[in-house]
Symmetry: D2
Subunit: 374 residues, 4 copies
Amino acid sequence: AGPLGVAVLGYSFMGKAHSNAWRNVNAFHPSPQVAQKVLVGRDAGHVKEAAQQYGWEESLTDWRQVLDRDDIHIVDICTPGHLHAEIAIAALDAGKHVIVEKPLANTLAEAELMVAAAQRAQARGVQSMVGFNYRRVPALALAKKLISEGRLGEVRQVRVSYLQDWLADADAPMTWRLRQQTAGSGALGDLASHAADQVRYLCGSPIESLTGTVNTFVKTRTGPDGPEEVTVDDAAWATLHLASGAVASLEVSRFATGRKNSLEIEIYGSAGSLSFNLERLNELQFFDATEHAATQGFRTIPVTEPEHPYLEAWWPAGHILGWDSTFTNQAADFLTAIRTGTAPSPSFEDGLEVQKVLAAIETSAAQSGAAVVL
Amino acid sequence: AGPLGVAVLGYSFMGKAHSNAWRNVNAFHPSPQVAQKVLVGRDAGHVKEAAQQYGWEESLTDWRQVLDRDDIHIVDICTPGHLHAEIAIAALDAGKHVIVEKPLANTLAEAELMVAAAQRAQARGVQSMVGFNYRRVPALALAKKLISEGRLGEVRQVRVSYLQDWLADADAPMTWRLRQQTAGSGALGDLASHAADQVRYLCGSPIESLTGTVNTFVKTRTGPDGPEEVTVDDAAWATLHLASGAVASLEVSRFATGRKNSLEIEIYGSAGSLSFNLERLNELQFFDATEHAATQGFRTIPVTEPEHPYLEAWWPAGHILGWDSTFTNQAADFLTAIRTGTAPSPSFEDGLEVQKVLAAIETSAAQSGAAVVL
Amino acid sequence: AGPLGVAVLGYSFMGKAHSNAWRNVNAFHPSPQVAQKVLVGRDAGHVKEAAQQYGWEESLTDWRQVLDRDDIHIVDICTPGHLHAEIAIAALDAGKHVIVEKPLANTLAEAELMVAAAQRAQARGVQSMVGFNYRRVPALALAKKLISEGRLGEVRQVRVSYLQDWLADADAPMTWRLRQQTAGSGALGDLASHAADQVRYLCGSPIESLTGTVNTFVKTRTGPDGPEEVTVDDAAWATLHLASGAVASLEVSRFATGRKNSLEIEIYGSAGSLSFNLERLNELQFFDATEHAATQGFRTIPVTEPEHPYLEAWWPAGHILGWDSTFTNQAADFLTAIRTGTAPSPSFEDGLEVQKVLAAIETSAAQSGAAVVL
Amino acid sequence: AGPLGVAVLGYSFMGKAHSNAWRNVNAFHPSPQVAQKVLVGRDAGHVKEAAQQYGWEESLTDWRQVLDRDDIHIVDICTPGHLHAEIAIAALDAGKHVIVEKPLANTLAEAELMVAAAQRAQARGVQSMVGFNYRRVPALALAKKLISEGRLGEVRQVRVSYLQDWLADADAPMTWRLRQQTAGSGALGDLASHAADQVRYLCGSPIESLTGTVNTFVKTRTGPDGPEEVTVDDAAWATLHLASGAVASLEVSRFATGRKNSLEIEIYGSAGSLSFNLERLNELQFFDATEHAATQGFRTIPVTEPEHPYLEAWWPAGHILGWDSTFTNQAADFLTAIRTGTAPSPSFEDGLEVQKVLAAIETSAAQSGAAVVL
């Protein structure tokens, strides 16, 4: 069998990041061979230029065209969220393996249809995956491993925050990202989706109920036609109760001046703790409470050694990886799942569960914080 | 006029810390002279020993005795919380200046009576103060100064957590601190009181409403008569709305394995941000968003220079202070307030406001997180 | 004109890193187009496999073949050091632009011949460069910029160390890297070359004299034929006097247990200071002594913003780069130099100057530390 | 027996710090009782004021007077270095236990006389000690313990630096500290003495030979009579060879802009490593190379727990100590040594050994760095 042909839909930030992953995956990982077949975008000139820059054989402007082609085996969807459902369902029904960027969809209804399509496809050996790429940060994969091995004992308390600051300037202009109609939500869909996925992933326990709060700090911004109301959240807070009995706090914001990409995760268990920050994604902090009291302390593990997840594929010990490597690792895992016929993780069901959490936060917030059962 | 005579009530942890402050305040600060007159405690033998160890002239077992003495000008109350109201009110009515350890009282009703007594006393030039000593951490005094000077612009988002781990061991025995009857509450009164005071202090804006959650992770512990129910919270969470429009998240726990005394405060404003951790109390992190973009970053200010609050009294530049120095600074400020006839800060009113926040968190938690207006 | 054809010589660690740079440079940087023509290695089977994995059109086993080909414009030499001189000189004389991995050569004599060849070639518009890739770490490029702009005032004191630990295990076996005959030197050529280049680069002032010490901690290791003497240094120390009056300390080691890739640089000037560590290569610490004393402190600049060197080519703000990005940036700069006909930096002369420093350290060490004038 | 009467000689920085120790030692440590008898200084008015401020019963202007008094058992010498020898020898001969602030003396000859006096006194049960107070930093006492227990295996490489910045301003005026006649040396005696003592203390192995460099960055400063030559070193560097085979680098400076009191110590062994910085003196970093490779990392031990050296005397877990606590711990250890008749450590011999190291650095520097055997 020849290489697996790939089409990426979208060529802006995420399209660039996914293209990078496909261009490099075979240089690092011993996964099936891929061919960078097609980059799809609406503007013919721009997408052609991007295709050349990012290493694609050709470019197209209509995503439907790739569904008919025998040389395309994987469809990777990096379009805005409101297009996810239609494309993903069509691609799966056409027998293409599908990756969808997070969040899975803009509405619960769409997400449920996508899950149904994924289940139909899975029955035919067609795989699907939602792109929570931070599951492929080696340090977080190591965190998952340590928790699974019981190094933390019983997990009780989780603190997750995702803080950025690109809206802190009150004079920044109106954009489609700040309109509910186009963006669905604000920090919630963009940042809390990653945060909620990590809580589910790392704790391995469903979120049963939560209380939530949302806030818009700057309520009006200047649009093309003058002052315009911001209709999405700038920040959100929630307290999550997990089936395991653990409690997690979640906080996301685009107003945290000085925080550029600070996804911070702290997990406290009866036997140990972990701490992580995406701004130093090559490090994991681990506290082992089973050690002698005189030498206990949070240790900073440089997750750059051959003993760590994904690292053998990369460089010798001590050479740090960039943020983009998470997509390369993700592509490798997806390819391996296709080859072995195993359902990839995180699945569309995982994406749906995250959507439910986001929706529950909005519902709770609309009810003055009263708890919502999922 | 001779020195101001001081009596401290209580000789365990807080009694030791306050004794240390009175023993040292005149060696560092140019405040009125004090005389360490009396240490009061219930056990005659133990308090005598403690008095000798901590530098007191004599010891007594009945706090009422100090109220009649002309050589006692200051009564410093370090007893358990349920005794605060009776002693403080009697002492103020007897014309003694009073410091009360935090939290002000175990109930709102008591706190209100104390405030009334303090107001009566203030009219007669008798001063009172509640011992939120962390207002006297030089780094936090510097934080307050920077915020007041407008270096953060408009404060929007605050994150405060106070994490310890001394209950993380599920086999730790039952104590009076884990019974609601004796302790009032758990992490809430002990840790959230400091946290809430800092939010009020640093932001300079009242807390108007909040949603809250509390949790008890280990519900039964072994007491003297076998298994016993834990009737206080192990951890608590709240989202606070301030009059200014700022939103603060608050999280406290005694189950955060590896965190020993981690009072962490982050304040995000439109023009800058601050970050602080009590485990490194000689440092303040400051991000100045008005600098050139290429050189922006959180700077770690070593708050050990003569230009910093309180530091001139201590050592030359670069020599860090211990946790105990906060009580010495507090004593100095209290003495200066007495000398100048100025109302000290934080007042009993401040203590009452914090109690209201704690009570509201419990009320909200009992209502599944529904918002409570203060 | 079509793309510039590239041949890389060598396919192990550095060959992989350089291949990665050529495969990705056009996807990020607006530099001339390249074509990954040939990967050269001695083992036909291995190099063929590597060529396929790293994206090369073909593989060859004899480097001389690439010199005759019109479709090869750039020869990138990643072979062991003792082959550098012969290949580089031949390639330059054949009109190929040449990059040589550091250190430039194993001996001063070879380095001098290479400089002569580079000067001949430069006169014909043929460019050459030595691969001190850490000059292309964005944080170090920013450091250079801040120093050049005078933000540090007069640079007085420099501390540079490069610490690794892969030889700390005394039972690790003998390798060619521990034989003077094959490796030339130990930590000196491998690590001190980078360190010395950074001192020269950042300070912009020649090293005039130095005192040096070298040490071999584990003097015998087990080779294929039993115990064998280690004939290179495990660690080295030097104090460097610069023409500017600045003094730099240099320390390198492969025995610093726990340090994986710790190139640490501190630069102290009359008006400010900088600090950098390669293990956190996306950050630069900057202390500005011209600020108000109350808010001075080392700030951690996240060098991930569009205002920072090289960053515009990569990802949006806040997304960290990996170690491998330094080679991609280096390739881009080399391509731009070729296009514009500008001499690239660092030149072979720079490489020669670093060799002189390394040789002087060995000479001084052999004279019990007595100063050597360069 | 009643309390041990103490006299402190000197009332500026060190006098204040030592007074603080004597005032507080009995409040924390279960050591013999002390009485703060006399503070001695040359200016009658100033010393009287200081005595009152720091808790002394009386003040005197002539140190000889205290030698005749039966109520003085301990003489604590905080005068400038050139007076150490005369006073210490007289006090020891008068049967007083003696503590001398570091460095022991300004010249080797004086130091040797002091050692002889200490040996004579020791034979009569009279104790002496040199005040390298950093041996009483709990984190460094823990470091010593871990090394002694073999947790680092064989110690190979040590890095010690002591960096301050109070002379970085070239316009700072001339002082007695910058004249060789009065100060003996510059950073060498002031900072390198601590650094060298730590190398000896932690490694437990004599320094056998060294190479050294010194430098004066600002050669002229403005004195009372106009421009004046600076005749001491601003910074110094040395490479030390220990009898054990370990090699230590040492660097001290008063020109390291931004470093306030940065005594930094790194110790690399075959089985583990340690790292410490005085600016965060409540923390010790420990790397354990015997752990599983996937979870190795430098851990930050908060040295604030009852299991740590000295901590039981202070506060509950998690409450950090100030710089001044090191003197209190030192006083406690000295008192215990007096009570038990054990020779205190560090002894005058230790002080002499450090002086020899400083002298050797100057000798080597004068010989262009050629090695000096101790």
